[in-house]
């Protein structure tokens, strides 16, 4: 997606209902052809962004720019976007074929062309033989695919997906995630996908926009938001993470030290000029993933923390070791180790040396 153009720009977009502010001054670029996921807990405003783009509601302030002009006043049916709704919104009185062809029919497309394009769309979502059925006769997953076909067929510039997989059970959801991603890659339409499920976001997105309480916390690739969280919220949102509070020390090349209750930790600030610019003594958090933590002797460029084991939790492929730092028992530290078939030699109460390489250790402003 290196040289992709920008399809849609949100500039200082805000939304309030009466005195309640839902979105605070959002700036967002949607790139042409990408799969962008808006991720956040409920109440974060993620669905509101989708509805603003789709035209189902109006912004209280700011602009939504398509090809340079503000489309905030453009009615829903004029916008070149199509939506896959959370409850699928299939027309119960129309067959699958009629549902899928609806967007073409209301535009006056000739009958023969509709038939052909509907057949193609159903083929794409693998529902070919079910064309004559009614939505009530389909399973949840099938209905989901009809909704998708109905949105794709109109060849919109952007497809909005409002938590479309929320109603499916876990197995089906995993399968649909792969399916959706492969479709998007094939037709190369821009997808804007809203979800609260962070695993889903990481699995599917080219870029993730993490939201909390009406503000954007961070926008980046799954890799970025996972390993280089920009805020404390993002650091805590994905999977398990270790956060150690402290004050910033001096910058040394691509690393910066942070003085914490468990000692001085050296963290990488590669590609994070903002962190480098912060004055020494500012409060910050050192952040590192449990899977980056090892046990044993520290080598050059690695941080060492003494910890006492609280609990060893076998979790299948990996085993989580929950510990408390020796010099700061309130500080919880987690290490995720690969499980061994013959069990672990670690036991509760044991004191062990935790090792974290500086490259895996990141800083977040507190």
């Amino acid at each position: 997606m290196a040289e992709a153009g920008i399809l849609l720009k949100l500039r200082s977009v805000s939304k309030s209902y009466g005195a309640t502010a839902i979105l605070h001054s959002i700036d967002l670029d949607v790139r042409d052809g990408e799969f962008i996921t808006i991720l956040g807990p409920s109440g974060s405003g993620k669905t509101t962004i989708l509805r603003l783009i789709g035209g189902f509601t109006q912004p209280s302030g700011g602009q939504i720019l398509l090809d340079g002009s503000d489309i905030a006043a453009m009615p829903i049916n004029r916008r070149p976007f199509n939506t896959v709704f959370q409850d699928y919104a299939l027309f119960p009185h129309l067959t699958v074929e009629a549902n899928v062809g609806y967007g073409l029919a209301v535009r006056g497309t000739p009958r023969a062309e509709i038939t052909k394009r509907v057949a193609d769309a159903l083929e794409l979502v693998q529902l070919g033989p079910l064309g004559k059925r009614f939505p009530a006769q389909l399973s949840g997953g099938q209905r989901q695919r009809v909704a998708l076909a109905r949105a794709i067929i109109c060849r919109p510039r952007l497809i909005l997906l409002d938590e479309p997989l929320a109603a499916l059970d876990v197995e089906l959801r995993r399968h649909m995630q792969t399916f959706l991603k492969s479709i998007q890659t094939e037709i190369r339409t821009t997808f804007l996908f809203v979800t609260h499920d962070q695993e889903e976001a990481i699995a599917m997105a080219d870029r993730i926009c993490v939201m909390s309480a009406g503000r954007i916390e961070q926008i980046g690739s799954p890799h970025e938001v996972y390993y280089r969280p920009g805020t404390e919220f993002v650091a805590k949102f994905f999977g398990e993470n270790n956060l150690v509070p402290g004050t910033l020390g001096p910058v040394e090349g691509t690393t910066r030290a942070i003085d914490t209750a468990v000692g001085r930790l050296v963290c990488s600030i590669d590609g994070q000029p903002k962190i480098a610019a912060l004055p020494a003594g500012s409060p910050a958090l050192a952040v590192f993933r449990p899977e980056a933590v090892g046990i044993g002797d520290a080598a050059e460029g690695e941080n060492r923390i003494a910890a006492r084991i609280d609990q060893v939790a076998f979790g299948g492929a990996s085993t989580m070791v929950n510990t408390a730092a020796v010099y700061e028992p309130q500080q919880i530290l987690k290490a995720r180790l690969q499980s061994r078939p013959d069990g672990t030699s670690l036991s509760q109460g044991e004191t062990i040396p935790l090792v974290v390489p500086a490259s895996a250790c990141r800083l977040v402003a507190a």
């Binding site: 829903i76 919104a89 209301v106």
Partner: protein
């Protein structure tokens, strides 16, 4: 206590049967009597005859009253369904103003005793010098049944998922296309049921009609006039036919508006 437990079902059934006798018993009298002649106020049970029914077919005033009733019914149904649908759509739309007030006005003629609705309309027509005619009867009936038709259609409209309308717009349809292609097909059975109910109510409506009619008579008004005079075979025959008709209408309306599944009740008793 045990006796009470065992006696209860029998008692209930007996009471229910008694109530049914009260409800349907009196109706049997004119129906059965219609097949006999009446002299000096008593029924002559010796000779069954269908002469009363035959006489009806030649009774011009009854036939014209029937015709008037049908026209009024058709008019009231068309007006009330069109208005009721429009009002329901308005009520459900997001920019509607004064919803509660509007609904209150719509319900008023149905909640108030018909005598008040009829008198209010009578005075109104007099004041605006609108001559009492077939049209005033149609207006009176429409205003009366509107509440029921509106409520029926609104209930169905609200049971439709809100995202259906959004989806239609999202796919590029105009407001009119959305109404025609999405809303109307899903409302049609509620509209049909409401129409039948409205027709049945209009068919029987007497009190308002008596007040707002000019020279025309609907069937109930004609019946009323005939009934003031006594108990005669032609009234009985007409009564039997009307009862048959309204029962049939009711059964059809029930089929549209109240599927058996909604009434069945659960089994964990």
């Amino acid at each position: 206590m045990r006796f009470a437990d065992r006696a209860a079902p029998t008692l209930l059934i007996t009471l229910t049967l008694f109530v049914f006798v009260l409800l349907y018993g009196p109706l049997m009298v004119p129906i059965v009597s219609s097949f006999f002649t009446v002299s000096h106020g008593t029924v002559d049970w010796s000779q069954p005859t269908t002469s009363a029914y035959v006489a009806l077919t030649q009774n011009d005033s009854v036939l014209s009253a029937l015709w008037t009733t049908l026209i009024v019914g058709a008019g009231a149904v068309v007006l009330s369904v069109a208005l009721g649908t429009g009002l329901a759509l308005y009520y459900a739309s997001p920019n509607a103003k004064g919803r509660n007030f509007l609904q209150f006005i719509i319900f008023l003629p149905f909640l108030m005793p018909p005598i008040i609705t009829g008198l209010a309309l009578l005075i109104f027509f007099r004041q605006v010098e609108f001559e009492r005619s077939l049209l005033t009867i149609i207006i009176g009936h429409t205003v009366f049944v509107l509440a029921l038709v509106y409520r029926t259609i609104l209930t169905r409209l609200q049971s439709l998922s809100g995202s259906l309308v959004e989806a239609s717009y999202d796919l590029g349809a105009s407001s009119w296309q959305t109404f025609r292609l999405v809303l109307l097909p899903n409302l049609s059975s509620a509209m049909a049921g409401a129409a039948i109910l409205a027709f049945a109510l209009s068919f029987d409506e007497t009190m308002i009609t008596l007040l707002v009619t000019g020279t025309q008579s609907t069937l109930p008004v004609r019946l009323w006039a005939m009934m003031r005079l006594g108990f005669t075979p032609d009234i009985n025959a007409l009564v039997a036919l009307v009862l048959l008709f309204t029962t049939a209408l009711c059964l059809i309306a029930v089929r549209y508006l109240m599927p058996a599944s909604a009434v069945a009740g659960s089994d964990d008793n």
